[in-house]
Every structure is written in C-alpha cells, then in structure tokens.
Subunit: 189 residues, 2 copies
C-alpha cells in the first residue's frame, strides 16, 4: 500500500501534522486531512488505515533498521559502543532533512496522552527486538534486555533534546553526548 505516489503520501502526512497541531489530534478528521492535501478521503484511506497511522506508519521500518544495524554492529567493541553506532546510523537518517517532520510529530504526540502511551509501547517493542538480536549474538539475556532498554532510553531522551534543542546540533551529536552522560551516571565515583 502506498509505494506508488510518494508525493501524495508525504502531502497527506504534512497536511495531517498541520491540522493536528492547529486543531488537535482528536478534533481532526481524515476528510479534513484529505481536503488540505487536495485529494479525496478515499485516497487518504488508500495510504493510511486511520488518522493515527499517519503518525506511526514508519515505526516498523524504523524497528527493522535499528535491529538490523544492531545485528551487523562490530562485536569487537564493547556492547554499548556497538549500540551507540547503531543509533547514530538511525540518527543520520533523521538528520537528513527530517527534523521538521520529526519535531511536528513529537509535538503532536506529546500533546495527547493516548498517543504518548502508544509511542511508549512502540519503543518498548523496539527494545524487545534489540534484546532478541543481542541474545542471538550470544549476550546473556538479562544483560541484553538492559542494554536494549538503555539504547531505547537514549533514543527517546535524545529525540526530546534534539527536536527542541539548538538548531545547529545534529541528532547524531545529541546521541553521542547522551552515551557519554550514560557512562558518567553509571560509573563508580
């Protein structure tokens, strides 16, 4: 669904974010989004199952990207270095002209408790996926779970910091800074 007509898909996403931010997610209908994007409501539903999917349809692809990146990371490094590298790969995609979209999406989700809960559940699901990959690569299960959870914590906190932080700072830089902080918090005095 929606592999064709990439422009219409992007137009629908942009129209949706504009309306969610202006009028609130709950108050916006698929018909209004379609109208603003200059297409029919039927076209909207050819691209997205519902108005919530406009916000979450890239989630599965992102999960796959992170997991495959973790699966391919060098094993000669300490685990957190490999995970840092995987997140930087993801961050660079966001740094490539996606900030405006990511920021608007972040603001829409932050303003709505139901969407926030859905987002947290998605990230928890990523953590399960990463832990599985790390375990398959021979890491002890408990350690794999913790490493995966910390990776997702860095992604989530990093996004908060990045979307409303200094315009000149890349997401990749924010991620690197957070990994340094993570070490500082856990290390012995």
């Amino acid at each position: 669904m929606g592999r064709w007509e990439p422009d219409i898909r992007v137009k629908l996403q942009e129209a949706a974010l504009t309306l969610y931010l202006e009028n609130g997610f709950d108050q916006t209908t698929a018909a209004q989004i379609a109208k603003l994007a200059g297409v029919t409501e039927r076209t909207f539903f050819r691209h997205f199952a519902d108005k919530r999917e406009v916000l979450f349809d890239g989630s599965d692809a992102l999960k796959e990207l992170i997991c495959s990146s973790v699966a391919e990371a060098s094993l000669s490094k300490p685990p957190m270095d490999a995970l840092l590298h995987s997140l930087v790969v993801v961050a660079e995609i966001f740094d490539n002209g996606r900030k405006d979209f990511v920021r608007k999406r972040y603001d829409v989700i932050s303003a709505n408790p139901e969407l926030r809960e859905r987002e947290l559940a998605k990230l928890a699901d990523y953590a399960i996926g990463i832990a599985k990959v790390l375990k398959e690569r021979g890491m002890d299960e408990l350690r794999a779970i913790l490493a995966a959870e910390m990776t997702m914590t860095v992604l989530r906190v990093g996004m908060q910091q990045w979307v409303h932080g200094d315009e000149g700072e890349t997401f990749a830089t924010v991620i690197c800074k957070l990994f340094t902080e993570l070490r500082a918090v856990t290390e012995e005095a």
Copy 2:
C-alpha cells in the same frame, strides 16, 4: 476514599485480579468483582473509580515513595548508588508479602495492550518525578533525566524478572543484580 474498611478494599482487589486472570480484563465487570468480594456494586465504586483503577490506584503512592526516597538519599555516594538504595527501599516493601499480588497484577497488565500502555505511561511519569528531584538536588538536567530513566528501567525489568523468577529470590536482590549488570553494559571494555 476507602481509607476505612481496608479489608473490603483488599478483598475487592483480590476478587478483581482473580476475575481478570480467569476471564480477561475486558470481559470483567465491576458488578462481577463486587459479587465475588461479597459486597454491592455501590461499595465497589466507593473504593475505586472504575475497574482499571483497581490495578493503578497505588501508583501515586509508589511514585511519592520513590521520589521521597531519592530526595533523602545520601549525596556522598555516586548517583547510581543513591538510586539503587532508593529502589531497594521500594523493593523491600514488595518483598514484604506482596509478591502474589504483584505477580497477578503483572500478568493481567501483560495480557492487555491498553493496560500495558497505561503502565508504561505511569512509569514514564515516575521518571519525570525522579529527574525533577535529582535536578533540584543540583544534578545537571540531562544527567538527571538519564539517571531517572535508568532507575525506572531497572524497576520495570526487575519486576519482570522477579515475578516469574526463582521463588527464593527477593525483589531487592534482583534490583541489586540489575544495577551490577547496568554497570557492566555501560563500562568500557
């Protein structure tokens, strides 16, 4: 609400967990819970706003407990040691005869996506509270956020491990083990 008649409150919680596990959360009504507990439906609603609150009504008290424990933790220790100590205080309360209740609650929530999302949102809210306390105590904001998030990760993963782990192992022991693992994951090779 419900400070009187503690026995009825506990009875209602136990009846609710029994029915949620047997028939599913969605299929259970307040009337059925009241009946199993041997009280009227009106009594149920004197104690709980709805059937979901049976699972979450202790959340605010737990958040306060963790935050006040973090607020009082010794500052002479490294931050994660202070946070570990705070979680152990909480864990010891659970170790004091609460395992059966915590396990049932965990199983009910795990079986229901909507409840899982709500639980994650509650824990995210705890993390915000802990970060605020750490910041008030002079910790750099970003570091405070990360330290708080990691503390909640340990609580969440620890609960998963504890409720279905070795019967002889206390929650406090699981928490201590996880902090050691956390250090192992983040430290340089």
